[in-house]
């Protein structure tokens, strides 16, 4: 529970920080913290907590970016399911597989967002946007190992399992 709350708060703060940075850095050079936060949640949290964190991050992104409320939340929930499916096939704890996976996920995310926008808002896609989408997927892929590392660090620091409990060894006792 503590882990989920910490990952959610870190994700929300990241989203707000990226929003503030967007005033001085072009958006396509900034990572999508809502998507990366979802990936981080999928890596370090259980399935139920991960789904709830992913949906919350998506909802916040919806409110902050002006998309339909629920649009990015739906994508985050789907992406978390995809991540959990692939996590058993790929070793996503390693940087390169994680980066490649996140870049591919970003492209799929863009495609789905276009489909949603077309269906719910009747908006059309311009081919001139492809460059920006590819660039952002690359940025997300590069940022993914870092975000994954931060999430693991948070998870380790707040690990509540029995295995993490401190154990004292009595070294003075004679060996039988």
């Amino acid at each position: 529970m503590k882990k989920a709350a910490a990952v959610l708060v870190a994700g929300l703060l990241g989203l707000i920080a990226v929003g503030a940075l967007a005033g001085s850095v072009p958006v396509r050079f900034l990572p999508d913290l809502s998507l990366l936060g979802t990936v981080a949640a999928g890596l370090v949290l259980g399935p139920a907590a991960g789904l709830l964190v992913a949906a919350s991050l998506g909802l916040t992104a919806d409110v902050m970016t002006g998309t339909l409320v629920g649009q990015q939340a739906m994508l985050r929930v789907l992406e978390l399911a995809v991540l959990r499916g692939f996590a058993s096939q790929l070793d996503l704890r390693r940087g390169i597989p994680l980066g490649v996976f996140v870049a591919a996920l970003s492209l799929a995310d863009a495609g789905l967002l276009v489909l949603q926008s077309r269906f719910f808002l009747g908006l059309s896609f311009h081919w001139s946007e492809v460059g920006g989408v590819l660039l952002r997927a690359g940025v997300n892929g590069l940022a993914a190992p870092l975000i994954g590392g931060v999430a693991r660090w948070i998870a380790d620091a707040l690990d509540e399992s029995e295995a993490r409990r401190e154990m004292r060894l009595d070294t003075k006792r004679p060996v039988l």
Partner: protein, 303 residues
């Protein structure tokens, strides 16, 4: 039974979340083309939290940027000063000529009366955050309902039309930029008075859609709001025509438009504290209308 429920708990949660997001999307669909979504308590809370935090986080980078631009400005100050003096002298002369012409035509008084009729209080607001999506274009503003900022009010800068307020909280607001692909403004070409629609393409550019009648839209033409539709007042600068795309087979032609406003460098903008009656109707019941019904009625009657 309990075991079965435990087994289907996760698929249920997944399906429930998908259904919830779908319902939220359907409920949040725009009430009309070009009109943004309605307000609600959840967006209210999130915007209320995000706006001050983003303002604080953006402050150091803004300060650095300002300091750097001031230094650069100082270096070029001398050259710029000379250029500005020359320009001011030329403009003053032009201004004098125009005044003479207007006074001679007896139009000055009529224009003054008209300005009084159109005068709308402007509220200066600070842009505290930009959206982080490359698909939608919106900014967060540091004023909200407490300062009489309501959804549907136009947002302008000294260079032209910026967009429209799409959501408000007590102390913050979100404005949908003209660049957003859901934005559309009825426009006219200042030179030829040809009419059409300027809309956002979502790629950082604007598009002017018009019906061709002769050669009435040319490269370099300035586009302004027509005032038709009642959302934006007449005469706000939208941009200038970059290229006219003529396809003989189509009745409606398009032209690419360079925006008048530099949307990447928005810092201070102004909210026109007046909302068109059409927007009043669209946003009625959204919670950001004045609570007093008499006041609404009085506003409607004064328009």
């Amino acid at each position: 039974m309990g075991d079965f429920l435990r087994r289907i708990r996760l698929p249920l949660l997944f399906a429930g979340l998908l259904l919830l997001t779908l319902v939220l999307m359907l409920a949040d669909r725009p009430v009309a083309p070009g009109v943004a979504e309605r307000d609600g308590w959840l967006p209210d809370v999130l915007l209320e939290i995000a706006a001050p935090v983003q303002k604080a986080l953006a402050a150091p980078s803004d300060w650095l940027g300002e300091a750097f631009s001031r230094y650069v400005a100082l270096v070029d100050l001398h050259v710029e000063n000379e250029e500005l003096r020359e320009r001011t002298a030329r403009l003053e002369e032009e201004n004098l000529q125009f005044r003479e012409a207007l006074v001679a035509g007896g139009q000055l008084q009529r224009i003054a009366r008209m300005r009084e009729g159109f005068e709308v209080p402007l509220l200066p607001v600070q842009v505290v955050g930009q959206d982080v999506s490359s698909w939608f274009h919106a900014v967060l503003l540091d004023r909200g309902r407490r300062d009489q900022v309501l959804s549907g009010m136009p947002v302008v800068s000294d260079l032209g039309l910026v967009g429209v307020v799409s959501a408000t909280t007590r102390s913050a607001a979100r404005a949908m930029l003209l660049l957003d692909r859901r934005s559309a403004a009825d426009a006219i070409v200042q030179r030829s008075r040809a009419r059409g629609i300027v809309r956002g393409t979502g790629t950082g550019a604007l598009e002017f859609v018009f019906q061709v009648r002769g050669d009435d839209v040319q490269r370099g033409d300035v586009l302004i709001t027509s005032g038709v539709g009642g959302v934006y007042p007449k005469g706000l600068r939208l941009g200038s025509v970059l290229e006219v795309r003529t396809e003989r087979s189509e009745l409606l032609h398009t032209a690419s438009v360079a925006p008048a406003v530099d949307f990447g460098r928005l810092e201070q903008v102004f909210v026109l504290l007046q909302r068109a009656p059409t927007m009043d109707l669209l946003y009625a019941g959204d919670g950001d209308l004045p609570d007093d019904a008499d006041e609404v009625e009085a506003q409607a009657s004064t328009r």
